[in-house]
């Protein structure tokens, strides 16, 4: 079969790889009908995340049709059934899964010793996202093996198109969880850093959850335009001070809720801070750039909440803990507990409250994947979200 295969930094190729096969009774094989390039795939593309190996198949946001199931799937899935696959692989039986904390499933990461070394404890297995999270082959391919398939799936109604439901596998519930855990109140101003796909979903989620004012910070004009379309006030941080403008929009009090939808590769608007972080990163004295975290802690209203869906992989430097502590801020973060939210979100899509396909700007086949990775990474051609049809 054809798949998008990682070969190194900025080197992703569309090439033939062996077809996946059932390896465990709880496996299913899915014929992928649509997959997306996620912003967090770019951390792998640029090789910021450790743990990738040459030959790994990329992709953790995908959907398709069931073509084969293991004996242990027990009729939960049938051949021909249409499913979205959550990027977090879940067993459904461990203590964390039973509590609804699916992204920290205790059993699905088959390299849990590596995750435990890096993070102290294991987290869930993920598709196409390094060997720290299990080294599972990803879904930017014609077929994919889904482990624990009797639990790791989202069934979708026939009346909804692939493009309406594809993002249930990652960016929609990720933006949703980011907004939900910010505990948005009707009087709140919610500031969202990053107008990429997760930021766009977080904006819509904050609106649905009833925020009085949503403010989005970015520097890419077309992304800011899409953010405004979704109901956000925008700040172009390449031309204006984020802190000054946020204080202006909140009568000097600061936003009650702040969401970091940028993560480890943030660009500082201040040259000195940018050079500082890049030098430290290049010298392996920090792995992630904490620009957005610093700004959020500084500008958030005291007693406010910081929500972090943006991906971080390792160590950051110069976190103003004094401000975080003395302002009494609450920090909520984590990979997304996808299946915790998806029944509700499917219902909202079916009800016409939201259509997540608004974010798609580029479409192509698998063979176009390597070029579209570059287009997406470089934010060329007004690219915001890429969907591939294998």
């Amino acid at each position: 079969m054809k798949a998008l295969v990682w070969h190194g930094a900025q080197d992703i190729r569309c090439e033939s790889v062996p077809d996946p096969r059932i390896e465990d009774d709880r496996d299913a094989i899915i014929k992928v009908t649509a997959c997306a390039i996620c912003g967090s795939d770019l951390h792998l593309y640029d090789h910021f995340m450790p743990g990738m190996e040459k030959g790994d198949v990329m992709g953790h946001e995908f959907m398709g049709e069931v073509v084969e199931t293991g004996k242990g799937v027990n009729g939960t899935l049938r051949k021909g059934e249409r499913v979205v696959i959550p990027f977090t692989i879940i067993c459904g039986e461990c203590d964390q899964c039973k509590r609804g904390f699916f992204s920290v499933c205790e059993r699905s990461n088959r390299n849990k010793h590596l995750a435990a070394k890096a993070f102290g404890h294991t987290t869930a297995g993920l598709f196409g996202y390094t060997h720290l999270t299990g080294g599972y082959q990803g879904g930017q391919a014609e077929y994919v093996r889904v482990p624990f398939a009797d639990k790791t799936h989202i069934k979708v109604p026939d009346g909804l198109t692939d493009e309406q439901v594809l993002f249930l596998g990652d960016i929609f519930p990720t933006g949703w969880q980011a907004a939900v855990q910010a505990d948005i109140q009707p009087t709140d101003t919610v500031a969202i850093w990053g107008a990429g796909p997760v930021g766009q979903m977080a904006i819509r989620s904050a609106i649905l959850l009833g925020a009085r004012q949503v403010v989005c910070i970015d520097r890419v004009p077309e992304r800011l335009e899409m953010a405004r379309a979704g109901g956000a006030v925008t700040i172009d941080n390449s031309t204006e001070s984020t802190v000054e403008r946020l204080n202006q929009l909140t009568s000097g009090k600061g936003p009650e809720k702040c969401i970091d939808a940028v993560g480890m590769e943030a660009h500082a608007p201040r040259a000195l801070e940018q050079v500082y972080d890049r030098v430290k990163q290049a010298m392996m004295l920090e792995s992630d750039r904490a620009t957005v975290l610093r700004e959020m802690i500084y500008v958030c209203r005291p007693a406010g909440i910081l929500s972090i869906p943006g991906v971080y992989g390792g160590l950051v430097d110069k976190i103003p803990m004094g401000a975080l502590m003395n302002k009494g801020l609450t920090l909520r973060t984590g990979q997304t507990h996808v299946n915790r939210w998806t029944d509700d979100l499917v219902a909202r899509i079916a009800d016409g409250q939201i259509d997540p396909s608004f974010v798609i700007t580029h479409r192509g086949g698998l063979a176009d994947g390597p070029d579209l990775y570059k287009t997406f990474r470089d934010k060329k051609d007004n690219c915001i979200k890429v969907v591939l049809r294998p």
Partner: protein
Amino acid sequence: MPASASRQEPSAHRARGGADAPSARLSSDRRRRPDPSTRQVARGLGWFSLALGVTEVTCGDAIARWLGMPRAGALVRAYGVREIVQGAGILGAHDPTPWIWARVAGDGLDLATVLPGLTGDPRHRANTAVALGALAGVGVVDLLCARALSDAPLAPSEPVRADYRSRSGFPRGVAAMRGAARDVRPRDFTTPESLRAWS
């Protein structure tokens, strides 16, 4: 506004970097897009600069003696500081072009400093020749890398060509949907009642 993959290479907009003025070839430009190998060579030179700089700072007197210039220890340490600054600049800059050109200039300075040793103390001439050979080799790599960076194409400044103003994502409009999910309050993900604001 679906776009086909064929739209993404705006070759008509690509320009050769620095074709206009010599200063543009030497200066930093965020639009510069060198090929991956040039980028890797530049990073390698950055690390080399740091390593050499640390060595020169810590072993300046020994290096000076080895070259037959026993009173030049302070000068070698100063050159080490220069190497460290250049290395940090290369690794930290979005576009390392000016820093690599700075290395080329530094190579010239190093050669000029070491060259007189060929006519100096005969016991150290062999060492001087080795040093000159190494400097020349690294200098060639620096020069090639600097030229490749200066010649790298410049990505175009992207205008907003697509119109995303109608992409609200809300089929019934933003105003109608504000607060539609206000009742979503999962206990584990929201502030406990005892910690909530009183008003």
